[in-house]
């Protein structure tokens, strides 16, 4: 990878649903963008959508941050679903055995339908 783009996170909330839209690569430098923004979610948030549509790359440290988010959400518990991952990272997420903690969907509509 020639250059890592910094991660930005936009959070949209509606009732008990929050959508975390990531933009840029997710790496070890993305802790604030992933876990920091997650911790800012209100206590009433029960469903979380993770939008990876604008994430071209996640390295292992970045995936570790996502896994930490999933672990933290599972303890509350909050339902977390992911969408917008590229085919490559759908496979990576699948291999990581995260099925117990999240589900993967091609787009936002499918993800929203999954949490309803």
């Amino acid at each position: 990878m020639s250059m890592v783009t910094p991660t930005k996170t936009k959070v949209e909330t509606s009732g008990d649903l929050a959508v975390m839209r990531f933009e840029g690569d997710i790496t070890s430098h993305s802790e604030e963008a992933v876990l920091g923004k997650y911790k800012e979610l209100g206590a009433g948030t029960a469903k979380i959508l993770l939008d990876f549509t604008k994430v071209p790359y996640l390295n292992s440290s970045g995936i570790a941050l996502v896994i930490q988010l999933l672990m933290a959400a599972s303890k509350i518990p909050q339902k977390v679903v992911c969408f917008g991952l590229s085919a490559h990272f759908v496979k990576v997420f699948t291999m990581l055995g995260l099925a117990k903690y999240t589900t993967l969907h091609p787009d936002e509509a499918a993800a929203k339908a999954a949490v309803q």
Binding site: M1, Y57, S60, S61, A64, H88, V92, M95
Partner: protein
């Protein structure tokens, strides 16, 4: 023909672009010949004291009127042009009128009558015309005619000593009436006294032409000698600036960049003194003013940014504060509350920075003193004409400028501090590099046990860490039953922290008694809980049995490839995340080659960001480990690459 004879009868001449007419032998002589000659001339001048006298009793009038050159003009109502201070020959005026006239009447001693006389003017800024008996006998530079104020028409901003021949017809009734019409850069009052105040005997002289000419040559050479300390200080400042830039590594060491540029700008500002004192440059007022402003602003700004780099926690506000201070502090010579305020600001910033540098870098005491001294000197030696005299001191035959000396001391202090710091940091870096190299060798020793395969299986392994040490690992553990346990894994992250976790994993594996892949992973998971610190370890474990089967368990790692196909293995969570994890095993017939890789292969990325990917990896999974690793590396390595291929023997 002597120089004097060549110069006579004194017609107008052009030297460089500064017009000097009516003077005697204005040209600079050949260096060494001149110095030797002047030593002889100095001895001769001691014998000729009665052939030349200082010309005092001048009267001055601001304004401009051509009639003031006339010999019969009554100047009794003019002010007496008193020296500014004892021993100083500087003529004090208000400093704001562009043109001032000076007049004096000299009674010629009887023994001089009929002999060629000359007037020596050693210092008078900027351009001027000299009249004797109402006749213009010469000029230094050019200036507009009386009544016309055109600053652009003026040239001559250097400080040359000039001798003017007084024609015999200008002497009447045993006396000569001399008038000088002088133009000066309006408002440049501190310039007027530049290098003047400490010189004794700066009054113009009148005397026999040969004697005045010799005196001029002595004074010119004395200027060179007096300027030697300044030259050395200038060279020192440039050398220190160059050293700072030379020590800098490309794209790093920002403090060295700003320090180097600040010192070069400081030197460049001081260097203006050279051509002004020793040569004919500059020719217009705009150039030195622009030069002083640009170099002064640059040096102050870069010095401020250097201080900002030295105090990271205050970096941002020091950078911003430096800009207005640098812009105002560089306008030397203009007295105003703004300038004094900016210099007080510079002083405050410098003192605060000095304190911080001393607190953080105790060895930088020299920088503290130099930085603290600079604005004080700027404040007290450059704000007004009166204080400018505090700048210069004569030490033996040399002239010492507090400002130039402070600049050189600042340069020396900064360069010394940074040199010591760079040496210390480079020694530390070398030590870290040696430690990493040692860690790399240890890791190689820990990992490099591919030869420890069983008699039934051959292992072909390649390990390419992205840095000195890596976060990938692999182990081959032969069993007494002829089986071979192969473990390939990846610690999230890279570098030393990941390598330390790798060592822990390998330690656990070497103490592992179980030969069941699922149990091995479960045990590893237990041992890693709490160690991964928010990270995780992916791991794939495969046991190859002599009966031609292979049993695989996977903890979040990439699935292995067998005979060019991906092996379907139930995915388990990576190690170190959750307690009580169990990992399912799958048993299948051994198909060659059996390949285990780390994500450094599939996530090798090209310049455009395109990943090597699963398909390409699967496509080359039948090749040797070296070929697969090389293909991924050539695609664009950005993580550790591990490839382990297992084949049956026989």
């Amino acid at each position: 023909m002597t120089a004097l004879q060549r110069a006579l009868p004194g017609g107008p001449s052009q030297i460089g672009a500064v017009r000097c007419s009516g003077f005697l032998d204005y040209r600079a002589g050949a260096g060494m010949r001149r110095v030797i000659g002047v030593a002889l001339l100095a001895a001769a001048s001691l014998l000729a004291q009665d052939e030349m006298v200082e010309l005092g009793g001048w009267r001055a009038q601001e304004g401009d009127d051509a009639r003031w050159a006339a010999p019969d003009f009554d100047d009794s109502g003019w002010n007496v042009a008193a020296p500014l201070s004892a021993g100083s020959g500087a003529f004090w005026t208000s400093g704001w009128a562009p043109v001032t006239w000076y007049r004096v009447t000299y009674r010629i001693p009887s023994e001089w009558r009929g002999i060629s006389l000359a007037l020596g003017i050693w210092k008078l800024d900027d351009a001027y015309e000299v009249f004797a008996g109402g006749v213009k006998i010469g000029e230094f530079g050019t200036l507009p005619p009386p009544g016309i104020q055109d600053n652009r028409a003026v040239t001559a901003f250097s400080f040359r000593r000039v001798a003017f021949r007084i024609p015999p017809e200008a002497c009447r009734d045993g006396e000569v009436r001399i008038a000088v019409r002088r133009w000066r850069l309006p408002g440049a009052n501190s310039w007027e006294l530049y290098e003047v105040a400490p010189f004794p005997n700066q009054l113009p002289v009148i005397g026999l032409t040969g004697t005045v000419q010799r005196e001029r040559e002595i004074r010119v050479t004395r200027t060179y000698i007096r300027g030697l300390p300044g030259m050395l200080e200038l060279l020192l400042t440039f050398a220190c600036g160059g050293l700072c830039l030379a020590m800098r590594r490309r794209g790093e060491d920002t403090e060295l960049l700003w320090a180097g540029l600040a010192l070069l700008a400081l030197g460049a500002q001081t260097a203006l003194w050279l051509p002004m004192t020793l040569g004919d440059w500059p020719k217009t007022a705009l150039l030195p003013l622009a030069w002083i402003f640009l170099t002064g602003t640059a040096s102050s700004l870069f010095l401020g940014w250097f201080l900002a780099e030295m105090i990271p926690e205050w970096r941002r506000w020091i950078r911003w504060v430096s800009i207005p201070i640098a812009l105002t502090a560089s306008t030397a010579g203009i007295s105003s509350p703004l300038i004094i305020g900016s210099r007080m600001g510079l002083l405050a910033v410098a003192l605060v920075c000095a304190w911080e540098i001393w607190r953080c870098h105790r060895r930088g005491i020299a920088v503290v003193l130099a930085v603290a001294m600079k604005p004080w000197l700027q404040l007290f030696t450059g704000t007004s004409s009166g204080w400018n005299s505090l700048n210069y001191y004569s030490v033996g035959p040399f002239l010492i400028s507090l400002r130039r000396t402070s600049d050189a001391l600042i340069a020396l202090a900064i360069a010394t501090l940074l040199y010591a710091r760079v040496r210390r940091e480079r020694a530390q870096r070398q030590e870290v590099t040696r430690d990493l190299e040692a860690a790399r060798r240890v890791q190689e020793a820990l990992l490099g046990n591919a030869e420890a395969a069983s008699s039934a299986f051959a292992v072909d392994a390649v390990y390419l860490p992205a840095r000195e040490v890596g976060g990938d690992f692999y182990q081959t553990l032969p069993g007494e039953d002829g089986s071979l346990l192969v473990v390939v894994g990846d610690v999230a992250g890279k570098g030393l922290q990941a390598a330390m976790l790798v060592a822990s994993v390998i330690g656990s594996l070497r103490n592992e008694f179980s030969r069941a892949p699922g149990e091995v992973l479960a045990h590893l998971n237990r041992s890693l809980l709490g160690q991964a610190r928010g990270g995780f370890v992916t791991c794939c474990c495969a046991r190859f049995d002599p009966d031609g089967t292979v049993t695989v368990a996977n903890a979040g790692h990439l699935a292995p490839y067998a005979g060019g196909c991906e092996v379907e293995v139930e995915a388990g969570l990576p190690l170190g995340i959750a307690a009580g994890m169990e990992y399912a095993e799958v048993r299948l017939a051994m198909v060659e080659p059996f390949l285990l890789v780390s994500d450094g292969v599939v996530e090798a990325a090209s310049e455009t960001g395109e990943l090597f990917g699963f398909e390409r990896t699967r496509g080359i999974s039948g090749k040797t480990a070296g070929e697969i690793a090389a293909a991924a590396q050539a695609w664009g390595q950005n993580d550790d690459i591990t490839v382990v291929a297992v084949r049956r023997i026989g």
